[in-house]
Amino acid sequence: MSISWLDDFRQQAQSQFEQTGFPSNRLEDWRYTNVSAIAKKEFPLAKIENSPVFEGSKGGTAFHFVLVDGFFNAGLSNLPKSITVCSINDALKNHAGLLQSKFNQAITQTHGFIDFNTANFTDGLFIHIAENEVLDKPLQIIHVATQEAILPTRHVVILEKNAKATLIETFSSSEGNAYLTNSVAEIFVGENADLTLYKVQQESETAYHFGGTYVQQADNARFTHHNFALGSVLARSDIVCDLATAAECELNGLYLGSQKQHLDNFTRINHLQPNGISREFYKGILTDQAKGVFQGRIVVAENAQKIDSKMNNRNLLLSNEAEIDTKPQLEIYADDVKCAHGVTVGQLDEKSIFYLQSRGIDEATAKHILTFAFANEMVDKITVPSLRESVFNLLLARFPEGAER
């Protein structure tokens, strides 16, 4: 199916991508992350085929939208009836006008991964929640990767005035599968609407991951994001939020790197209008030779007075070879604002380890308990019980006996 407006976007993005390729680490926003290994892999584009779907791809939630290798699988999915929700390919047929009016509009600054996505996305989620509608149960978007390929998916999420929803997006794959996830979400949170989005990235240890979330928040809109970066050998997450008057944005994150993992978390909160509130809290735990990156930028535009913004990044380095590059940035052009940021990088507290040992707990378990507790602060923020439990269990698998089952 060829749709002319989309073809224009695709062609433009394609020629842009041909010029730049994936982002070079000479670019400021990419200086800590070298993605050259991805191009060398020469992954083909994913093909639609009857991929085997392994256990665990069926979500624990009532509603789920399953993408197998980047293609919507209706048979595995269960979608709510009360709202408009379908694959992006179906939306191109059935909701063309609305889709066209929003497509690419949340992305204000592009780079190679986004261009590649626009040029090549195979499928994705389209969701439209009408004014005053509330999606009362969470909808889980489940990405399953079985092919050794690039899996580009594109979501468009639209909440009209006063609408409310919770989305969960999970990325997983069969063990040892090498591929590139390239997922871009465009999100439009309307006036006084409220969206909570959870992301749980637990790709295989040989996977590459790019996930970009670009959010437009209208007046008084609320957006809450919880980002769990657990898997993949190299992962980059972009979250960019543009806030109108009195909009509120909360970004929480936990990145957990071991072995040679490289986990880059790029966030940008743009306060474009007055009276906005933003809260950002990211925690990182890095062990072995893992490397973490936190780039948090908060921009307050010239006329955006009375902004209240806090950003905090705390890191635990559990080995001498683990590394963190953390760069919180405040760019403030208004004069009447309340902005604060803090960063810590440290090791486990020796006094705490000894205290636990003095109660009979061996050193390794003591460290697991303390590390788990550090991470669990982010897990505790999950308000969907089944999701909280499954992330809790993922953590427990990493730090056995770190907490009571």
Binding site: D349, E350, K351, S352, F354, Y355, L356, Q357, S358, R359, G360, I361, D362, E363, T365, A366, I369, L370, F372, A373, F374, N376, E377, E401, A403, E404
Partner: protein, 247 residues
């Protein structure tokens, strides 16, 4: 139970304990008193296996084993318990989880099975009540935001749960008001038994009004400079430590 012979300990290049001798038998209560900086906490820490102390000479045997060779957690499992002078706050770890993990670690070491979840709760609630602590403390993070007195009570709660053989109380009385002191003392007295020994490090006679020691030792400048019975504590209360240090 415990034999400390000629113990010398350095922190960095500074000698803190300078030839300390002490023998403690099951069923006994020993009070160790002495001026600030004498080395009382150092002794407590060395007994419980804290790192950062260099034992340069002497020996410690505990139940005929070389205590100094055991890692801290093995000492704890073998029944050595230190109630800290400054209990550590541990964010994100609940009291109840610490108690359970600790109890199970000790039980496993002694060839016992894991404690049943229901039995554990019944037990821990009873002990909490006995120390006049609100059950809510069990579900709070270990010592986090506890008052000084609550922290000390929490130490005694852990001790009551683990039922150690050798209890070392490092200034458990400091910072307690008279009511809290009585509760803590009752908690300790309830644990007194002929199989258990106590070393109570304290500054003041006060605690000893409630827990009567069999022996009182004065630790000054890294050594036990005088030992006696309970009456020595009263003498110290009256005269201070000056007369001993000069001697």
């Amino acid at each position: 139970m415990l034999k400390i012979k000629n113990l010398t300990v350095n922190v960095g290049t500074k000698e803190i304990l300078k030839g300390l001798n002490l023998e403690v038998n099951a069923g006994e209560i020993h009070a160790i008193m002495g001026p600030n900086g004498a080395g009382k906490s150092t002794l407590s820490h060395v007994l419980s296996g804290k790192s950062g102390y260099e034992v340069t000479g002497g020996s410690i045997t505990y139940n005929d084993k070389n205590l100094l060779e055991m890692p801290a957690e093995i000492r704890a499992r073998e029944g050595v318990f230190l109630a800290f002078q400054y209990p550590v706050e541990i964010a994100g770890v609940t009291n109840v989880y610490l108690l359970k993990a600790a109890l199970n670690a000790v039980r496993k070491h002694n060839g016992l099975s894991e404690v049943d979840a229901m039995d554990f709760l019944t037990l821990v609630k009873a002990k909490t009540k006995a120390l006049d602590m609100d059950e809510k403390f069990l579900y709070r993070a270990v010592n986090e935001g506890f008052s000084g007195g609550e922290k000390k009570r929490n130490e005694i709660l852990q001790m009551a749960m683990l039922e150690p053989q050798l209890c070392i109380l490092d200034e458990t009385d400091s910072g307690l008001d008279i009511d809290a002191l009585r509760i803590v003392a009752d908690g300790v007295n309830a644990l007194r038994s002929e199989n258990r020994a106590f070393i109570m490090v304290t500054h003041y006679q006060r605690l000893l009004d409630y827990i009567k020691p069999d022996f009182v030792h004065v630790l000054a400048d890294g050594k036990i400079v005088k030992s006696g019975g309970a009456e020595l504590a009263l003498e110290l209360e009256e005269k201070g430590y000056g007369w001993l240090e000069q001697a």
